[in-house]
């Protein structure tokens, strides 16, 4: 048994197995999140969510997935078929790929690269391409509008996203997630969300915008352009787009937890669980996902020009100014101490 495990610990088996595990995790996350979304929305709207399938409705994701497998994948007659069918893949894979570098626990990270933050930024930018492919390939006016809005939104909000990461990089001195988590101590007042509060909030808001959730879901714009860039998708292709959206939501939550809330670090030293610290990571990620959902079901959506105003005229100046403040503070504190 030990020799089998040792054999499998070599490349490429280690990578293949762990990638399979991550894909399994991400797809299940997407399925569970559909259920969580509906239950959370139900309770906010003073009703039960789905509660028929299985005990308290817990088998609902299985029913949903089964239904989506059996649905017909309709594609519009004059759509550009390869672009149309490639778009869900182009949206899903980047969201899944970044999970490879996230540390779940001190030793549990699949690919411990030392430029993980750069990797994250680079790969999530590909998501914007997927949106444009979906809207353009559908050859419909509504999807074109959705695609253009989506592209503009995702590209604009990457700027404050990246600028707010720079604060973390400066404080921890490294681009690697593992180092960032280690640098935030095991007490909640040393986690980065306190010294970098504006950066944390900017990253959070930009994260919502990147995932295209309310109040930034204008590319999907359910009330005016009924689905926006994904209006022509149905069946498994649509399911893949939804899975991509939920996987990105999980990803943004995980990265917020990693960079600003201490990753797998416990809030107080005596709550350290040793090898089971991934429970802390999971708890923080789930908390942030819950706040994403809470916000979604509470407030209306922004119009396109207001969205862009928020991104460029509010978030970018805040992050730039705070970056200078952090740099100055670090310099002064280094001189003083």
């Amino acid at each position: 048994m030990g020799t089998v495990l040792q054999y499998l610990d070599q490349e490429p088996f280690r990578f293949l197995l762990s990638f399979g595990a991550v894909l399994f995790l991400v797809l299940n996350l997407a399925a569970v999140l559909t259920m969580a979304e509906r239950k959370v929305s139900g309770y906010i709207q003073l009703r039960y969510g789905p509660n028929r399938v299985g005990p308290r409705g817990l088998l609902q994701p299985a029913a949903d997935v089964f239904k989506l497998f059996t649905k017909e994948n309709v594609s519009p007659g004059r759509s550009d078929l390869w672009v149309f069918l490639g778009a869900p893949i182009a949206m899903f894979l980047p969201a899944a790929a970044v999970w490879l570098v996230i540390p779940f626990s001190p030793d549990a990270v699949i690919a411990n690269i030392n430029v993980a933050i750069l990797f994250f930024i680079a790969i999530t930018s590909i998501g914007a391409l997927g949106v444009v492919m979906a809207g353009y390939g559908s050859r419909s006016t509504f999807s074109l509008l959705g695609a253009l809005r989506g592209a503009a939104q995702m590209i604009s909000y990457e700027v404050p996203l990246i600028l707010s990461l720079l604060g973390v990089v400066m404080l921890s001195g490294s681009l690697s997630f593992v180092d960032v988590v280690a640098a935030q101590g095991d007490t909640f007042w040393t986690w980065y969300f306190l010294p970098l509060l504006p950066m944390f909030l900017t990253f959070y808001v930009s994260g919502i915008a990147e995932v295209k959730r309310v109040p930034f879901d204008l590319p999907e714009g359910e009330s005016e352009i009924v689905g926006g860039f994904m209006i022509e998708y149905s069946g498994m292709t649509w399911a893949l787009i939804q899975a991509a959206e939920f996987a990105s939501m999980g990803l943004m939550s995980a990265i917020t937890a990693t960079l600003f809330l201490g990753g797998w670090q416990p809030p107080l030293p005596f709550l350290d669980l040793g090898a089971f610290n991934w429970i802390w990571f999971g708890f923080k990620t789930a908390l942030i996902m819950f706040t994403f959902q809470w916000i979604r079901w509470s407030i209306p959506r922004l119009r396109m020009d207001q969205l862009m105003d928020l991104g460029w005229k509010v978030l970018v100046p805040i992050t730039l100014i705070y970056l200078l403040i952090v740099a100055a503070a670090m310099l002064i504190l280094q001189e003083v101490f």
């Binding site: 003073l46 407030i299 209306p300 959506r301 119009r303 396109m304 207001q306």
Partner: protein, 396 residues
């Protein structure tokens, strides 16, 4: 409750430039080689208040031309009414503006009673007003919910429909149906209120008054996103509103205090005290405030009705056959959407010669053609929330 300093009409129209100033001149557009997109917000749409086709010409996200095409729910009500006896037209009027059924029935019945020249017993009049005001609540509260739904907040509509369900169960106890009542009849109402209903209505109204602010005002009124999406959108001036023939909340949100219940009184409204709710700003946010105010006034009217309602018969002494003399009858009520008027022409037989419904949704929809150009595409939804048309109304 809504006590913040509201802008006067001049201030409001000075704050926002007219929307059409955002449009690029066509010759400038040609010079740059830009084209506009022709798009349909088609009859199948989750947020069109029914079956409405909007032919839009878009320049990017800005609407250049907006042309509503109706007729997808046209049921030839006026033609069919010429072949049905007078009492049999009432269920058809229920189905006109299906969020204000009692008002439609009341309007038609007032027109026929004008032809017949009969007296309706006072208890029946009070019951009619009570039902109409409950209907007004059941229409304004979902209106607010729909406005928020189209702006992207999915929760207020469920709170609104919870209140509407409570009102519908009161209607079910009184009339037997949740939605298509056929309750207000020529000469009175169909049947008296069941004995436990006034108590139930009291409890409902007090409960609503207690929770109203928490459910419908607090999360919406000060919400930054709601304000930025609705303030200055669909800006109307008093002159333009009167020119376009608007009535109801779209007119009152500009500051013109015209309400048929006070200016052209009918039924027992002269004996009840209530205020006309107006706002000066003339945009979507103002119409939201007017509707909230009207809900509170309706609660006031319902309480007065329950206190003042006399005993007596609920139906006038009419024969079985309703056969008015030759002539014309006009009836006019204040429906939640505006002025609902009915014109009935009789030729002395059992069936009307001509019935014409002047529906407020039909007339208020002209607003879309006039006001939308210059706004962005997502602004169409709040502007429809200002007008609040119902597709049974504009399509008859």
């Amino acid at each position: 409750m809504l006590g913040e300093q509201r802008p006067t009409e001049e201030e409001a129209s000075a704050l926002t430039e007219p929307a059409t100033s955002r449009l690029m001149r066509p010759d400038v557009r040609d010079e740059f080689g830009l084209e506009t997109i022709d798009m349909n917000m088609g009859p199948q749409h989750p947020a069109m208040h029914g079956l409405l086709r909007l032919i839009l010409e878009l320049d990017g996200e800005t609407v250049v031309r907006c042309d509503p095409v109706m007729g997808y729910l046209h049921r030839c009500q006026e033609k069919i009414a010429e072949n049905r006896m007078y009492p049999a037209v009432i269920p058809m009027t229920d189905r006109l503006d299906y969020f204000a059924n009692m008002h439609n029935e009341h309007g038609y019945v007032l027109a026929v009673e004008d032809l017949l020249d009969i007296e309706v017993p006072p208890r029946a009049e009070y019951i009619r007003v009570l039902m109409c005001e409950l209907m007004r609540l059941a229409s304004h509260i979902p209106s607010i919910g729909f406005l928020m739904l189209e702006l992207g907040a999915f929760t207020p509509i469920l709170y609104a429909f919870r209140e509407r369900e409570r009102i519908q169960s009161i209607f079910e106890a009184v009339t037997g149906a949740r939605m298509m009542f056929h309750y207000i009849r020529i000469g009175g109402v169909k049947a008296d209120l069941p004995p436990e209903i006034p108590e139930q209505i009291w409890k409902f109204v007090e409960n609503l008054e207690k929770n109203f602010k928490g459910d419908f005002v607090d999360l919406i009124e000060g919400n930054e996103i709601f304000i930025s999406r609705t303030r200055g959108v669909g800006q109307l001036t008093q002159e333009k509103a009167v020119e376009m023939g608007l009535t109801g909340p779209p007119l009152r949100c500009t500051g013109v205090d015209f309400d048929i219940r006070i200016d052209y009184p009918y039924s027992v409204y002269p004996e009840l005290t209530f205020d006309i709710v107006t706002d000066t700003a003339g945009d979507v946010e103002a119409s939201y405030r007017v509707r909230i105010g009207e809900c509170l006034q309706s609660i006031r009217i319902i309480k007065q009705c329950l206190e003042k309602i006399p005993e007596g018969a609920v139906m006038a002494e009419l024969g079985r056959r309703i056969r008015p003399a030759e002539g014309e009858g006009f009836g006019r009520v204040e429906s939640p959407r505006g002025e609902f008027a009915v014109h009935v022409v009789s030729d002395g037989s059992d069936t009307p010669y001509r019935v014409h419904y002047r529906d407020p949704s039909f007339v208020n929809m002209q607003l879309l053609q006039e006001i939308v150009p210059g706004h962005y595409l997502p602004d169409i939804m709040p502007i429809m929330g200002l007008v609040d048309p119902v597709s049974g109304g504009w399509d008859k």
